[in-house]
Each structure stands twice: as C-alpha cells, then as structure tokens.
C-alpha cells in the first residue's frame, strides 16, 4: 500500500544547525496493516509523517501510495487518500464551525468543492450513524460549535472525519498524548474499531510502550532518522512493554542524552 524508498530529509542543510531528520529510510506497509512507531524525541517520527503527507518534501527518495508515485504531489492532493489525526486536538477540527459543518467538510474529501449547499440533508443520517458508533452522544449535538467540545471529544470527531471517506492510509501522530487517561483509552478503542471496520492501513506514532505492544501488527523503532529495528509476527505477539523498554535503552550510545537520563 505505502512504500518509501531511500527517503532522506535534511533540515537547515549546510548550516551549523543541520539536522538529518530522515536518512535513507525505506518502509513498506501492506494493505490493512496496522503499524506502531516508537522512538525518542528527535528520532524523525514526525518528519516521517510529514514526508508521507507532503507537509515536508523529501530531499531524495521515492514515496508510493497504492502503486502511485506521490513524491512530488502537494500536501492537499495527497490528503485525498490519507487521513490524519494530530497530537493537538485543536488541529484536526475547525473551531467556530459546528460538528455538522466539520463533518461536511470531511465528506468533501477527495473531490473538488463546488457550489453545492455546504451541509446536505442527505448526509445527516450518515453523520448520525458514524457518531452514534462512538457512544459519546455527539450525534445529538450536530449543531454545536466544535470549540465548545473537550479535547477527547474533538479528537474523537477528528478520527471520524479522518476515516469518513475511507482513506487508503491513516496517520495517527500521538493522537492520544494530549488526553487524560480515560479519554485516551476511549479514543484508542475507537481507533481500533474504525481501523478494523474499514480494514484501514494505519501507521501510528506513540510514546506509550503499552500501546505499541497492544495495538497493531508490527512495531517500528526509529532512531536518528533511521529504522533501528522492527518487531513483527510471533515475537510481536508475545511482546511486553518491559522488553521494549530494554531494547529501547540498549540503543542509546551515550553521545546524546538518553531518555533514561532525562527521566532520572
């Protein structure tokens, strides 16, 4: 489904602040696969997402989605096939617009806007049903301003918006990190439910070792712009958060502050 070949991204090239955010990274994600990505701060996880979604252009390499070369297509065009949920709940929805208007915008996904009515009567049942699945009661508040909702509610709406038109790929960038534990748990449940229902291809960045072990089919560990290791198959099934933390620590080579040092 998604294929990255030797993708490199360097920020501030040629200056003292040069950062090699991605170094010859290659990644293949199969149809319907659910991948979790872990790694310390600055490992290149977010850059990986930005380069896939087109927010950042790759310096070299090739990106393919569903057999199509998208290396040079602009962000908004790639978004036709890619759904995204960000860490900041405020980024995924539009304050000042109602839930209905936000969902209507998401429903336009993948086609051009025209002079049709912004909110369509025909879509109401569809929105109602999608929101009803969440058991949050938001289906009764379609005309409420999104700005009035909590972070968890906004993130739940963002998830529904991102999956409304069944994208080929769903990118989740620590989408539960800013939520309280209860809300995070609910959003995770909603994520797996939506991913399974539509058999979506999902890549999810997380800082939670538990999420990395519980969700998805494959774990990828990133370090310094590279994929350090992958765990899949049998090994992934028996993976415990403790194992993952051990492997995480064994990577630190002492030249940089490690997470363990920072946290101690």
């Amino acid at each position: 489904m998604l294929r990255l070949e030797n993708v490199s991204v360097t920020f501030n090239a040629g200056t003292p602040n040069e950062v090699k955010a991605l170094q010859n990274l290659s990644l293949f994600v199969e149809d319907g696969e659910f991948i979790t990505v872990i790694g310390s701060n600055g490992a290149g996880k977010s850059t990986l997402f930005n380069v896939i979604s087109g927010a950042v252009q790759a310096d070299s390499g090739r990106i393919e989605l569903d057999g199509k070369d998208i290396s040079y297509s602009p962000e908004f065009r790639r978004s036709h096939d890619i759904g995204r949920v960000f860490q900041d709940p405020r980024l995924g929805t539009c304050p000042g617009l109602t839930i209905r208007e936000n969902l209507s915008l998401a429903a336009i996904h993948g086609r051009n806007v025209g002079l049709r009515r912004d909110v369509k009567k025909a879509e109401e049942a569809w929105f109602f049903e999608r929101l009803q699945h969440q058991h949050l009661g938001l289906e009764h508040r379609l005309d409420a301003d999104v700005a009035l909702l909590s972070g968890g509610q906004r993130q739940a709406i963002t998830l529904v918006m991102a999956t409304l038109t069944k994208p080929k790929l769903l990118l989740l960038d620590e989408h539960t990190a800013a939520l309280d534990p209860n809300a995070a748990e609910q959003v995770v449940a909603l994520t797996t439910e939506l991913a399974e229902a539509d058999d979506l291809c999902v890549v999810m960045i997380t800082h939670s070792m538990q999420q990395a072990c519980e969700l998805g089919d494959r774990v990828i560990m990133m370090n310094r712009g590279r994929i350090e290791f992958e765990i899949s198959g049998e090994e992934r099934k028996n993976l415990k958060p403790a194992d993952l933390i051990d492997r995480f620590h064994s990577l630190q080579d002492g030249t940089e502050l490690s997470d363990a040092q920072l946290l101690s």
Binding site: G83, G137, D143, S150
Partner: protein
C-alpha cells in the same frame, strides 16, 4: 465515561432564541439611531452614504474575520472600482454593467494581494500595502491620467430615476419633500442593492466553497488535511471580498457624482470599525447575522460621524480626524470596558 457529552440540547430552541435576541437588538439599535437622527439634527443623507460604504465593511469582515487574513487591499480596490465605474458611465455604459465591471476590477486587486502572499510568501499586511501603492497609479491610469472624473449630467443608478421620483414624491407628500428626494432615492436603491448582495453572499458562504473558505480562516492545517487547497480558498476569498469593496466604490461614485483617486483613503480603518461596531452592538452568532452586523456597523459609523459633525458644527476639512476618533472610540471602548470589568472582578 470521560468524554461523554451531556444530554442532547434543545438545539432548535436555542437557535430561535439567538435569532430573536439578534432581531431585538437590531430593532432597538434602529430606534436609538432614529432618535439620534431626529433630535441630533442629522440629515438622512448619512443613511444613504452609510449604505454606499456598507459593502466595504463586509469586505473587511470577510478578510479579517472569515479568512483571518490581515488585508488592507480595500483601500486600493475601492477607488479602482470607483474609477472603472465612473469611466464606463462617462463613456455611456449602463450603470449596472459598470458596477459589475467594477466588481471584476476589485477582484483582480484582491487576486494580486493573494498571489503576492502565496507566491512570494510575503504576509498579507505587507502584500496589501504593496498592492495599494501600485493601485494608486492604476486608478490614475484608468481615469485617463486625471485624479478626478465628474459624472455631471451622466445617467447613474440614482440620477436615472431622480426626476421621476422627485415629481412623484412632491405629488404625494407636498413640496417640503423636494429637498430630501435624492437622499430618499439613494436609501431605496442602495438599500435594495445591499440587501440583494448580502443575500447572494450569504448563499455563497453557505456553499461548499464558502464552507472551505470559512474553515481556512480558522484552521488551514485541517483544510489541507481534508484534501482542499487552502491557497485557492484564500484567493477566492480575497477576490470576492475586494470585489465587494470595488462595488461599494462604484456605488459611492454614483452617489457623489464623481470619482476621485483618493476615495479609498483610510477605508480599511472604517471597515474595521464597522465590523467591531456591528459585533459589539448586535452580537451576531451565525454567519448571516455577522454579514448584517458588518454592513449595519458601517451605517452606525457614518451616522455617528455625521451626528458629530452637525453637533460640533465642524467644517468638512476635519472629516479624516473625526473618522479616526470615531474609529478609536469603536475599537478602544470595548477594550477599555473589558479592562474595567476585570478590574472590578479583582476588586470583589
């Protein structure tokens, strides 16, 4: 459940409640203004003038509030619209066609600002100052190198009907109405035009494109993530907004009976004041109410300025200073009030 929402709200009831309070505010405001004009000795010409400028207030509403784009282009688009309209009418073109042409010219001005912002990544404030500066020369060229084009004896939307209307008015209500006939005619024709344009604009903002434009101003990241080109939305938004400014310019030119290169001077500030006045006095909640509030704010601005003029008996040379002071009052008073309120809260 942590993120469960409370029971469903009676949305319908709240909507109609909002609508009622908006209407109520509008009626109260209209009555207060009427009293002001009656006892403050303000000529009803101020209403006609406010209607002429009203769409420029809507321009600022669309750029600043809907698109979240700091755009001063209105200062340049307005005189360009006036110039195009005046030159066409002078050349014998029908006023309605001239107004449409002015709209197109204003849209192009907005397009210039949008492209400078998008292509060169120069922020809107600077981009629009660049455009205004260039627009001055463009306006002069449109007017054939002259700084002024008079429309004396030409057929405008106003002058076309003025004689018939005056005769009819005098016939119906007697000779004392003769003096006010042009003012009344302006109010009727411009009022109708402004209402028609606000209805079209409301329809436009409630289409898919309009929704995308509204979303762009609030969260362009999300618009991109939805697969829409947010640059295109900025372009369309600025074109429509500045087209409206030029339309207002073409109306004012017909009202004044001449076009002038300096017609748009300081208009951005007046537009901003109109938007703020409308928001403070009418507290609009929906997009339609906001449009009405922006146009109405311009009316209130022009009437209060006319009232100050008549109350203090000032010469017309003082007009820009009075405008600046009214704008200052409109922008400053709400802030001062907020500061005072939070001060009071701390005291308690």
């Amino acid at each position: 459940m942590a993120i469960n929402s409370s029971a469903a709200e009676p949305q319908q009831a709240r909507d109609s409640g909002m609508m009622r309070s908006f209407l109520l505010r509008g009626i109260v405001l209209a009555l207060v203004i009427a009293a002001f004009m009656r006892f403050g000795n303000v000529n009803i010409g101020a209403i006609g003038q406010g209607l002429g400028y009203a769409l420029a207030g809507v321009t600022v509403f669309i750029t600043f509030r809907v698109l979240g784009f700091v755009d001063l282009t209105v200062d340049g688009a307005f005189p360009i619209g006036g110039a195009v309209c005046a030159v066409l009418i002078f050349g014998g073109v029908r006023a309605e066609i001239a107004i449409l042409a002015a709209f197109v010219a204003g849209s192009l001005t907005g397009l210039a600002t949008a492209l400078i912002d998008i292509v060169f990544k120069i922020e809107g404030l600077l981009a629009s100052i660049i455009v205004i500066t260039g627009a001055y020369t463009v306006t002069l060229h449109i007017m054939g190198g002259k700084s002024n084009v008079p429309l004396l004896g030409k057929e405008t939307m106003i002058s076309r009907h003025s004689k018939d209307f005056r005769n009819w008015l005098v016939e119906q209500f007697g000779d004392q109405m003769r003096r006010q006939s042009t003012n009344l005619l302006e109010i009727m024709i411009f009022g109708l035009l402004v209402i028609v344009i606000l209805v079209i604009l409301y329809w436009f903002l409630r289409t898919e494109v309009g929704l995308a434009i509204r979303a762009t101003g609030k969260n362009d990241q999300m618009v991109r993530a939805t697969g829409l080109n947010h640059h295109l939305m900025i372009i369309i938004g600025l074109m429509v907004a500045n087209g409206l400014a030029a339309l207002a310019g073409s109306m004012v030119v017909q009202q004044f009976g001449f076009a002038d290169v300096s017609l748009g001077f300081g208009l951005i500030i007046r537009g901003l004041a109109a938007v703020i006045i409308g928001e403070v006095l009418l507290r609009p909640r929906t997009i339609g109410q906001m449009l009405i509030a922006a146009a109405g704010g311009m009316l209130v601005f022009d009437i209060s300025r006319a009232w100050i003029f008549s109350a203090l008996d000032l010469p017309t040379t003082d007009i820009q200073l009075v405008s600046a002071l009214v704008v200052l009052a409109a922008l400053g008073a709400p802030r001062l009030f907020d500061q005072w309120r939070s001060y009071r809260q701390r005291q308690n």
